[in-house]
Symmetry: C2
Subunit: 235 residues, 2 copies
DNA sequence: CACCACAAAGCTGTCATACAGGTTGATGTT
DNA sequence: AACATCAACCTGTATGACAGCTTTGTGGTG
């Protein structure tokens, strides 16, 4: 089948390279099946152990998908791995929550602009429904949070740029861990109401195809969120 | 030591969770050593094979670092895994180069603003040096590209937000694969000269602490880059 | 001819064992 | 106290084994 490059850098890492190259050279698309472990083991002249560890590496990055009994398949892009990477950065004090929010603000400000211009009617409806669902679940924070995250994800998708969706998704893991802090710091009913109203404003502006208003509302949302987190004592 | 959650979702995946939890609960910081494979195998009641595959998964995301003979250590954040994920998305036609550039423009526009306000004198010097190095290596594209990438990375670092640096780094893998296309499409000496001059303008503005001028120059840089790529036939 | 049931072959998940070679820490020497 | 040496420990890779799931092909049935 082919040679392994970098024979000194560890067999597994070479094998990861070989499998990646195989995907490229054969133009495999998401869903396509890879050779079996035994086949790769034979073709690449390494033990099945090595092939398996290489598969695990690629699966961790969501480049391939593994399943019992089935062959490994090429995976669609997914933010799962990125989510874990970000969480690790935060938990080891290499990234602060405020820095996350600064990046989110940058990204999501652009997202609402694009979403306002490009959203389909279906997407506008879904975005509005998530905002409504937030209001409906104001008494159950767990569910409220789920709709909040879904709202931002729906916006990202409506931007029609999968990379924006990927990045927004990458932040959702850590966000779901810090969201309750911000929510608890909004002690008054008005504070909580205002947060939901902000989402509705964003949804309306996007539905109306009004980027300026959408950006303004999103900006206000982030001002308010960051204020809430700071007042809760987050650096 | 502890129980494994989700016992039905695959032993390896449970073990990854257990190790992650261990890092959190013990507040391990980058550089700290993890238990040996044998120890984890005993404590988690799984075979060493499973522990190794779990380690490989975490190492693929750069959450831990492995080395022969040494114990695994907690890793500093690194964009290596994200780079591979993005490359995979592009090679499987799930992400287009233009979409990458749209995100980069969004991110890097914000970066130059922050860098203008926050850069240290050292950082300003490094940024300028990379721009100068670009001009000096105008005849050797390979080297020129290296300095171009280093220039953008230095800017990202000067923003003082590691998440921006992470994202910029994540794009460098695929960028280094498409950069030559853009360069070749700049057929005239003036075109090539203009590209380098743009970088110099950015460096000057950042050194002067002038965010508006920096943003304008960065914006122009992206306009020009995207034009170059399109004229080379990239969708 | 189409369809279904079923058995065989193939594949992955996990475990145990073995050994080469790198790393670390303790021991003893100067 | 500094250093050299070595034993214990640790990781990287290979092999073999087996349970359980999936795919495939076969042949029978309507």
């Amino acid at each position: 089948m082919g040679e392994l490059t970098d024979p000194g850098g560890g067999l597994v890492s070479s094998t990861v390279g070989a499998i990646t190259r195989l995907i490229r050279e054969q133009d495999l698309m998401p869903g396509d099946r890879l050779p079996s472990e035994a086949t790769l083991s034979r073709d690449l002249q390494v033990s099945r152990t090595v092939v398996r560890e290489a598969f695990r590496s690629l699966a961790a990055m969501r480049i391939i998908e593994l399943a019992t009994g089935k062959r490994a398949t090429v995976a669609p892009i997914d933010h799962g791995a990125m989510s874990l990477i970000i969480e690790h950065g935060v938990h080891t004090d290499q990234i602060s929550i405020q820095q996350i929010y600064d990046v989110r603000r940058t990204i999501e400000t652009r997202i609402v602009t694009l979403a306002s211009l490009r959203r389909s009617d279906d997407e506008a409806r879904i975005i509005r429904e998530e905002a409504e669902a937030m209001r409906a679940s104001i008494a159950t924070p767990e569910e409220l949070m789920r709709h909040d995250l879904a709202f931002h994800m729906a916006l990202a998708r409506a931007s029609k740029n999968p990379v924006f969706a990927l990045i927004v998704g990458a932040f959702q893991g850590i966000t779901s861990q810090t969201w309750p802090i911000g929510w608890r710091s909004r002690t008054s009913a008005e504070g909580r109401e205002a947060m939901i109203a902000n989402h509705e404003k964003i949804a309306e502006a996007v539905a109306d195809g009004d980027p300026e208003r959408a950006v303004a509302a999103m900006s206000q949302h982030f001002d308010e969120s960051v204020r809430a987190l700071i007042s809760a004592g987050l650096t």
